[in-house]
Symmetry: C2
Subunit: 458 residues, 2 copies
């Protein structure tokens, strides 16, 4: 069996079968004009008031690299669906199109194109699945992370979710997404290597248990890593705190433990008790770090309960965006051969033509509303979509570095209306309108389609 690892040169088959059957049909029918597709989210999850766009870099890397290998073509040949000439044609497949996108780290809302692909229809169609796959989950994780970081009110959030992320790709790119949205570090060592994100970690219960006594484990770990974080709840949290205090007395000036980690029980009550014990022992510089099924709701409760916690380790609920593990993301044909296109399916109608999103800023420096317009009109505010790839190659705007992306996200989040940062859905939601020109185009295309399909006007 071939290795189940995916790499760039094998990513052409990271697609839905129908993309390939449609490609053969397009070729057979001579449909090879340029198509424009929008990638956007139809509706925000009920628990999200905004999204943080993420995933563009992996998307562009794929578009530059995607090829059909011999292995891939051999496999497709076994399916009995594709003729030899078509498969041979795939050998030369390259993505040669143009991509406009909102830069990673930008805040986006429902119906706003996150990226727009214009290319010969076969190219634009094939890449749909990979683009959706990467942008959807990365945006979901970045959006969740922004909420968690906000809830921590300036206290650092360490991302610990790798073990419950959905596979290695999700762990790696999820770590990047959480860093973009403001997390302080990740436990994922490979993410540290690949992206240069700060890596952090404490110790596991197994380390404590491998020793005959908890005090021995603390002493040994602190000897090797003086500024470490000690995990105190393996047997009993407050006994653990007592042992750290004893170790501090034993080590005197050599004691440099940075914090204690609480990982079970009533975290608010334990943090208060531990803080009191540490302070009474003169260990005011030793912080408290909490973990255990945390998310923005649990963190808010802890802080509002006055828990003296200095940092949070957040894993599963962040790495899986557990309350909204998917976004209603789609990649829809907006134009073909220069003609605007749309779909009328009930509850799933789309906006035709190439677009631009304009964002206005109020006198307080906060975003006050967006308008989705046609690509060729100029509206008030700042346009969000920029050209990140032309003729299959990245532009300078498509080469954002990670630090710039993280800074952008911080700026964008600071400029959101305050009500969008509430845990509950913002009321009213952020205003996103359709411009008069795009609205007229939509109505016109829709009316023509209704006439063509003999449907009642609505």
């Amino acid at each position: 069996m071939p290795s189940p690892w995916i790499t760039d040169e094998r990513a052409a088959l990271v697609t839905d079968l129908y993309q390939l059957t449609m490609l053969q049909a397009y070729r057979r029918e001579g449909l090879d004009a340029d198509a424009t597709f929008d990638l956007f989210v139809r509706r925000l999850p009920p628990s999200r008031s905004y999204l943080v766009a993420c995933g563009l870099d992996d998307t562009l890397r794929y578009l530059e690299a995607v090829r059909f290998t011999d292995d891939a073509l051999d496999y497709l040949g076994t399916l009995g669906l594709f003729d030899a000439a078509f498969l041979d044609g795939l050998r030369g497949f390259r993505f040669t199109g143009t991509v406009r996108a909102v830069p990673e780290g930008t805040v986006v809302f429902a119906n706003e194109p996150i990226l727009e692909v214009t290319a010969p229809i076969a190219e634009a169609q094939l890449v749909e699945t990979f683009l959706l796959n990467q942008v959807t989950f990365q945006t979901a994780i970045a959006s969740k992370a922004a909420r968690v970081v906000r809830a921590a009110r300036g206290r650092p959030v360490a991302e610990f979710g790798m073990r419950r992320a959905h596979g290695t790709d999700a762990a790696l790119k999820g770590a990047r997404a959480t860093w973009i949205a403001g997390c302080a570090s990740t436990s994922d060592v490979e993410a540290g290597r690949v992206y240069g994100i700060p890596v952090s970690g404490t110790m596991a219960h197994s380390y404590i248990e491998a020793h005959d006594g908890e005090a021995d484990a603390f002493r040994a770990f602190a000897a090797l890593y003086p500024e470490t974080v000690l995990l105190v709840d393996t047997y009993d949290t407050l006994r653990g705190v007592e042992r750290v205090i004893a170790l501090a007395r034993e080590l005197g000036d050599a004691f440099a433990v940075r914090a204690l980690r609480l990982d079970s029980g009533d975290l608010a009550a334990l943090a208060k008790a531990a803080r009191r014990m540490l302070d009474e022992a003169g260990l005011t510089g030793v912080g408290l770090f909490a973990s255990s099924s945390l998310d923005e709701y649990a963190i808010t409760e802890l802080i509002e309960a006055g828990a003296p916690i200095d940092g949070f380790g957040v894993g599963t609920r962040l790495a899986t965006s557990s309350d909204a593990p998917a976004l209603d993301s789609v990649y829809k044909l907006a134009a073909y051969a220069g003609q605007p296109r749309m779909k009328l399916a009930e509850g799933k109608t789309t906006l035709p033509g190439a677009k631009q999103v304009w964002r206005r800023t109020g006198p307080d420096g906060r975003f006050s509303g967006d308008v989705i317009g046609t690509a060729d009109e100029a509206l008030e505010g700042t346009p969000l979509l920029v050209e990140v790839m032309r003729d299959g190659r990245r532009t300078d705007a498509g080469r954002d570095d990670l630090a710039a992306i993280r800074a952008r996200a911080a700026d964008q989040l600071a400029r959101l209306p305050e009500r969008l940062h509430a845990l509950e859905p913002a009321e009213p939601p952020y205003p996103v309108e359709v411009s008069a020109r795009l609205g007229a185009l939509r109505d016109e295309v829709q009316a023509a389609l209704r006439r063509q399909h003999a449907l009642p006007g609505r």
Copy 2:
């Protein structure tokens, strides 16, 4: 920047930082005895009455392959945490341990070891994160898929979730997990190539929209793929059905379209209307295939509403296990240097020592209850854990083929008590007990720890 794709030879850094800091501490302290770790799920999600174990094959492949490359060691050297001798020692890192596991496709419950690793503590510790990462999400997806397949009551379920799965690893291995649990096919072409799973797909709205008329699109696609499934809801579902009927009249005996796909609106009502129209036109052999935010709940509603639907395409909610995107999976030290170990943390106590799970079958051939015992006792029923790796190499039992795993899952699911297949939590839940011997061991270790830590007995 290095490519963000993970491959076997780079998987050593797919771990949490603390594994490596603990490794260095173990080495420094001379802690190198064998450790036994259990991987299990502490509690089932509220919406799950059982789990389908999945992910072992990727786990064993990783254990055979994991190495530290020069790149990895260079990176670790930059962190200022590890000394040169330790990093040099990692160069020779190999997993040389033993793994016992429940075969993939086996039904498991809370607290039952899904796999157990025994190896020198550094080896057993390092691999924790990767093992949890793979087993957790694959088991979550397989368990969700079993529910969805069951809800379809014999109608085929096509897995369409790749675009919203969390990255490429999740899409690929998730497709495998859904196939194991009984899905009929996947849309994921790479999963077809790697695993030999049947691939399937229909057509996208964009294909229809790229044509000037829907009828033209249907005609062209059916000419190339006579036994295809036509998507009829792009503009208006029942107009779409009319056009298929017209095409059937036009093509006569050459018409071989297998089914129509409904993807929006009131699926039950549309299916009934479409069925009536097709039947009246004599097209009784043309089936109806439905998609659009389906899961086990929506499918049950459709079937109970009498919707004449012959197959389902299920995507997002399956590929993300959206109502339970993570399992409360852990990897806990059970023994070190021959001594049983456990943790007492509130609400998170573990069972000490190497274990076996025994499953009893009632007179009706259905599973009637499990007992978790010590590894060295013989109890009634069938033992679930088998040795799948010895001295770092797979045993024959660790080389299950996919067809055998899928057949096992089908057999296991058929042997579950019927109440476990309800959409709502089974009442009473499946009985899982701790054997008298394991219970006595737990009490003994716990009492010793309580004495050691001067905690009140409970």
